[in-house]
């Protein structure tokens, strides 16, 4: 499938992670997907999410302090919460924030290879109930493919590769935020800015991170990006 193809040849971690969350959101019965990686400075950082609504981004990022992703990252194991209301004592900040966004159930799956957990894939559902085991398997398999892709299955220099790849992805994410701001300065909201950039990249077969960089470095005009996304919506 497409996700596996990206592992061969020109490889870009930030783009791979965006594809991963997009696939998970498209293939499975979940309402939002996000991916957090360890930044090696003591925080989990959101690298990719299926939508970029501000409140949802806050909800993902809140889990650097508490929540299923943090627990999943620390234990290297899946965390399944079929009913958020039942665990309000466990995560007194995360649960109300999730419910405010309209989510009633959550899963966190580790991005893990052997002893190393590099982050977690986070899935939200607007209805109460456990995810079907088959869906969990599919999501975990996608997360595993992405993890192996990032780590390139090399036994030697394992830890170093994690640091090198994660920092590259974090920096690409910063460029994406700068590009979102640039697009948003013409009056778009941040969410719409991201969506237009994603659609432009997708329709042209470009990588999201490249599109963002071209925008911020002045090689691509914001109007080119917003006009493509407007056309494709019609």
């Amino acid at each position: 499938m497409e996700l596996a193809d990206t592992l061969v040849g020109d490889f870009d971690v930030a783009d791979l992670l965006h594809r991963l969350v997009q696939h998970v959101a498209d293939l499975l019965d979940v309402d939002a997907a996000g991916l957090l990686l360890n930044d090696h400075r003591g925080n989990l950082q959101l690298l990719a999410s299926s939508t970029e609504a501000t409140r949802l981004l806050e909800l993902f990022q809140l889990q650097s302090d508490e929540g299923p992703c943090l627990d999943c990252f620390h234990t290297g194991r899946q965390v399944a919460v079929p009913d958020l209301q039942a665990v309000v004592d466990r995560w007194p900040r995360f649960v109300p924030a999730a419910r405010e966004c309209g989510y009633l159930a959550v899963h966190a799956l580790p991005m893990r290879l052997r002893e190393d957990t590099i982050g977690a894939l986070n899935l939200f559902s607007a209805s109460v109930g456990a995810m079907p085991p088959r869906d969990v398997q599919v999501a975990q398999a996608l997360a595993d493919v992405a993890t192996v892709g990032i780590l390139q299955e090399r036994a030697a220099r394992h830890r170093e590769i994690i640091v090198e790849q994660t920092q590259a992805a974090l920096n690409a994410r910063v460029t994406i935020e700068q590009a979102k701001g640039l697009l948003a300065s013409s009056g778009l909201g941040m969410e719409a800015a991201f969506e237009s950039m994603r659609q432009y990249a997708e329709s042209g077969g470009y990588r999201l991170a490249d599109t963002a960089r071209n925008l911020v470095e002045g090689r691509l005009r914001p109007s080119e990006v917003t006009s493509v996304s407007r056309t494709s919506k019609q």
Binding site: R41, L44, E177, K180, S185, V216
Partner: protein
């Protein structure tokens, strides 16, 4: 590790407070060299014309190492620069290192650079440069060392940006970036919004953000929040009205 970073902030503040502005870059890099867990440090800055300039080397060893890389056009600093990621070489005697950079391996065979670590200093497209440091022994940086290096380099990068923009380095002291992902995201978004509003490069936009924070006696995150969420508009800089073109 928190303590080590606090100590480094104090050392940076001291480096900025003493002496003339002309020597500030060297003093800041010197403070960095003191703090990093290694035997020697070089700092190479990217100039506005995209030329590299090694502005600091703490000893002859790392100076020769950087010189060899840039002369031969191969090596970990160049990879770190072009791929925007750290490059961590645990053992230069390992055949895989020699296979990766054959010319360099030969050139530095007599140097005591057993391990070399190169970290880019950048925020998205804002490219300050590269920090390369070596150890006389082979082997990895520990997790705590990596965490400290990343934190220390971000602080150094902020200071170098401030000095490069002609700003007063001391105005940054106590005004570092918060660590949480959410407010950082907003700072980068605000940088992009200012680029669009003012028609300036990412680096100039970020400088305006810092300048405004200092002028208002508040944090960079607070100004970013005002720009992104409350529609704050900044006036074009009177000194360079018309702005500069976005990007190089």
């Amino acid at each position: 590790m928190v303590d080590e970073i606090s100590q480094f902030k104090v050392a940076l503040a001291a480096a900025l407070a003493q002496g003339d502005d002309g020597g500030a870059v060297s003093r800041v890099c010197g403070a960095l060299a003191e703090a990093l867990p290694c035997d020697g440090v070089a700092v190479t800055l990217m100039m506005s014309d995209m030329q590299r300039n090694t502005v600091f080397a703490s000893d002859e060893v790392i100076a020769s190492f950087e010189d060899a890389q840039y002369t031969l056009g191969e090596g970990p600093s160049l990879v770190a620069l072009t791929e925007s990621r750290p490059v961590l070489v645990l053992d230069f005697a390992n055949p895989s290192s020699a296979a990766r950079w054959p010319g360099l391996a030969q050139e530095i065979a007599t140097l005591p650079t057993a391990s070399v670590f190169c970290f880019p200093m950048r925020f998205g497209v804002i490219n300050v440069g590269i920090c390369a440091f070596y150890r006389r022994r082979a082997g990895p940086l520990s997790a705590t060392e990596i965490s400290f290096v990343l934190d220390a380099l971000e602080l150094t990068m902020l200071v170098l940006l401030q000095l490069r923009g002609g700003g007063d380095g001391e105005s940054l002291v106590g005004r570092w970036l918060a660590v949480d992902g959410y407010s950082r995201r907003r700072v980068h978004q605000a940088t992009g919004m200012l680029m669009g509003q003012l028609g300036v490069s990412a680096e100039s936009a970020f400088a305006r953000l810092r300048g405004r924070a200092f002028a208002e006696g508040t944090g960079i995150e607070q100004i970013a929040d005002d720009i992104v969420n409350r529609g704050l508009l900044l006036e074009p800089d009177p000194a360079r009205r018309g702005g500069d073109p976005p990007g190089p």
